[in-house]
């Protein structure tokens, strides 16, 4: 009986115009989206390779360790073809040097704002918006439409158990939606192979899990459609209810959750943080300069009763120690400022994390949010991409600066900032650099290691969202099931 009912359901869907419409839209959107995503990914890889080559070349051409700086780049990942997430909004590179903070800059959308106006349509968007609408289109009249059409009465004039009927509706609608999705998805996967995208085992695992999450997501809307169809007598009423539910769940709740979290747990703006940072640095440098002036006044005070020759000799004996002492003080100030900056960043991150947790918690009342967050976690394009990359870049900067200082020490001896300063009472002060010594050897310079987004690491934070999607689907189906058991088939 169940098989007969499922066959009928599937046949009715396939023969209906909505199936051909769904198939056409899915085929065009998915294939086009994968193709455009592929081309974007390839362009990003080419840009990344050119930029890193250029950066390495610039380092090799440096003649002074003092002026050795570099840039670290965010590596493109094949998963961005399917889940763009925030990867187009987050900067692609950061300068690596002793004087500027790590900050990802030059995002795709800041470089080419036109694409930010009409953002990239990835698989997640197609599933989240288009397929959920189609799921509603497939099911809004699943029960009440048959009642209106008179076929429900004729069906239940036969020995048809209601349990089997509602199951057949569910399975048939599900298959009816999966079919038009599978073919373009397979074409998309073929495109990956055709374009030789470097997909590792982890990438395939992520991709198939993402497809699983997509199926789970629109299964919820099928269950919701059946529920509303079993609660109402007229298909026009159920369509209206479902449209309102869709707008609420897909468009309003995710945004409202984040906005509400912003109101409950405010986070300082970037400008405020920069202001605090600059204020502290200015104050600290002022203290340092005052102390330095005081120290020099004290040093000079001890020379008052000496002859010029004695003063010169005294300075010759002590100037190196004074400079070391001043340099230590300067480094201490630098460390203080860095420490303050680190604390500010940490505080900002903690507050942001609290805000994000609350925002995501509230927005997860929508299956659309759960799906979006699960997809981004799996793909490694969620909002943690920015802090993770910046952390990795900070670590790299530390290594890079240590390396540079080490090299400076090894090759420059008393060099301060790449210049040799010599004091001699006979010849006075002499400043010399190493510019004439040719390019420096950077073959052993540390290489930036990008954070790795492994499948297991992405799956773990996505698990609560998988759980929520399953829960929402089960609840909607159970409610629809109960509603249909009481449904008046006349």
């Amino acid at each position: 009986m169940l098989k007969i009912l499922i066959e009928k359901e599937l046949k009715a869907i396939i023969l209906s115009p909505k199936f051909s419409a769904t198939f056409s839209v899915c085929a065009i959107l998915i294939v086009l989206s994968v193709f455009i995503g592929l081309r974007d990914y390839q362009a990003a890889v080419a840009q990344y390779e050119t930029a890193t080559t250029l950066s390495n070349q610039e380092m090799r051409e440096q003649t002074s360790w003092m002026s050795l700086n570099t840039r670290a780049y965010r590596e493109p990942d094949p998963m961005q073809i399917f889940v763009a997430g925030v990867q187009n909004d987050v900067g692609r590179l950061s300068s690596i040097n002793a004087f500027s903070q790590i900050k990802l800059e030059n995002s795709n959308y800041s470089d080419e704002p036109i694409f930010a106006v009409f953002r990239f349509i990835d698989l997640t968007f197609i599933v989240q918006i288009v397929l959920s609408l189609f799921a509603i289109l497939f099911t809004y009249d699943a029960i009440n439409g048959e009642r209106e059409g008179g076929t429900l009465q004729l069906t239940f004039a036969n020995a048809v158990p209601r349990v089997q009927y509602i199951l057949a509706k569910f399975i048939g609608s599900w298959l009816g939606l999966v079919l038009p999705l599978l073919i373009p998805l397979l074409i998309g996967l073929l495109l990956l192979l055709l374009f030789r995208v470097p997909m590792t085992g982890d990438h395939w695992a992520k991709l198939f899990t993402l497809i699983g999450a997509s199926f789970l997501y629109f299964t919820f809307f099928i269950a919701l459609g059946l529920l509303v169809s079993a609660l109402t007598k007229r298909s026009t009423t159920s369509f209206m209810f479902l449209l309102v539910a869709w707008v609420t769940l897909v468009l309003i709740v995710p945004r409202a959750g984040v906005m509400l979290a912003g109101q409950i747990t405010p986070v300082p703006t970037v400008a405020e943080i920069d202001g605090q940072r600059e204020g502290y640095a200015k104050e600290r440098w002022k203290q340092h300069m005052d102390a330095l002036t005081e120290r020099w006044e004290e040093r000079n005070a001890g020379l008052q009763n000496l002859t010029a020759e004695e003063r010169e000799a005294f300075r010759d004996d002590h100037s190196w120690d004074w400079m070391k002492e001043d340099e230590e003080e300067r480094k201490l100030v630098q460390r203080d400022i860095s420490e303050y900056d680190r604390k500010l960043n940490e505080d900002l991150r903690n507050r942001k994390a609290t805000q994000e947790r609350l925002g995501f918690l509230l927005s997860r009342f929508s299956p659309a949010s759960s799906y979006q967050l699960a997809a981004m976690h799996l793909a490694g394009t969620d909002i943690s991409i920015k802090p993770e990359y910046e952390d990795a870049m900070r670590d790299y900067r530390d290594k890079f600066i240590s390396y540079r200082e080490q090299k400076q020490k090894e090759e420059g001896g008393g060099m301060a900032g790449g210049f040799r300063i010599e004091f001699n009472s006979d010849t006075g002060m002499k400043i010399s650099g190493d510019r004439d010594s040719g390019a420096i050897d950077v073959t052993d310079v540390p290489v930036f290691e990008a954070p790795q987004y492994r499948f297991a690491a992405g799956l773990l934070p996505a698990m609560p969202d998988f759980g929520l999607l399953t829960l929402y689907t089960l609840l909607a189906f159970a409610a629809g099931f109960v509603a249909f058991l009481r449904y008046d088939v006349r």
Binding site: A12, A157, A159, P161, V489
Partner: protein, 264 residues
């Protein structure tokens, strides 16, 4: 002729009471009061044997469709029971439905399916899995649906054509009992005539047929027993032979108007 004006003493001309025989279709004190308090059916009792047609006559709201819905277990009785081949419908609905076929007032099938596809689905749903396409064609021809329509989608079919498909589905189910809810309503005279002839042939095959209708002339033409319903009650029940000489229209109007005494 005997008639009475109360439900407790409805005119019964050689119509068996449910307790006396094992009829194919039996209503025994069947009562339905809806949640809003409306008494749709009030202690209705009748039965239909194999090879008989029972026509329920009555105006809108008389309780004809409620009776059929109770046989189909679309609703449950407040009191009494409906039985199909001895099976109480609200107690064992699935078993009871195996014994019954149903044709509604306005047969609506799947509009995107062809006539053959609709027949195939409903035949299999009715437990008949052994039919071939030729069997379906044969039945469609029997009910008068021309061959060129067999592979056409139902969405272009007229009401008459859909009614023919509906009766074809009932035939294919090969159930011992058939329920028809105003099956000739809206049909043109030719289609109505063909439909009635088809019912006669089904009766001759031994089917027990319960038909609700507004059409007193067709009822007299085809029914073995006629029951007139008013406000949820059977106010008159007679075998065809007992009212052969009567002006059924006049009889009907008087019962419907409540002038029971004048009939006597």
């Amino acid at each position: 002729m005997e008639t009475t004006s109360t439900n407790e003493a409805v005119t019964n001309h050689a119509v068996n009471s449910p307790s006396q025989s094992r009829a194919m279709l039996a209503a025994d004190n069947l009562t339905k009061r809806y949640e809003d308090g409306v008494l749709a059916l009030d202690h209705v009792t009748f039965e239909v044997n194999q090879g008989h047609i029972y026509a329920m006559l009555g105006g809108n709201g008389a309780g004809k469709t409620t009776t059929i819905n109770l046989f189909l277990n679309f609703i449950e009785p407040t009191e009494g029971e409906a039985r199909i081949n001895g099976i109480v419908t609200h107690k064992e609905p699935l078993r009871a439905k195996e014994k019954i076929a149903f044709v509604s007032e306005n047969v609506m099938l799947y509009p995107n399916f062809t006539a053959l596809q609709n027949l195939d689905f409903f035949a299999r749903l009715g437990g008949q899995t052994g039919y071939s396409k030729d069997d379906y064609r044969e039945v469609l021809l029997r009910v008068g649906l021309q061959e060129e329509a067999h592979n056409k989608r139902l969405k272009g079919f007229s009401k008459g054509m859909r009614q023919k498909c509906g009766i074809a589905i009932a035939i294919l189910k090969d159930a011992p009992a058939i329920l028809l809810d105003e099956p000739t309503s809206g049909l043109d005279p030719k289609a109505g005539f063909e439909f009635i002839r088809l019912l006669e042939s089904l009766r001759d095959e031994g089917k027990a047929i319960l038909m609700s209708t507004h059409d007193i002339f067709r009822a007299r033409d085809i029914a073995d027993t006629i029951g007139i319903m008013n406000q949820g009650r059977i106010v008159m029940q007679s075998q065809k032979s007992d009212i052969a000489g009567e002006d059924l229209e006049k009889l009907y109007m008087k019962y419907m108007a409540g002038y029971m005494e004048q009939v006597n």
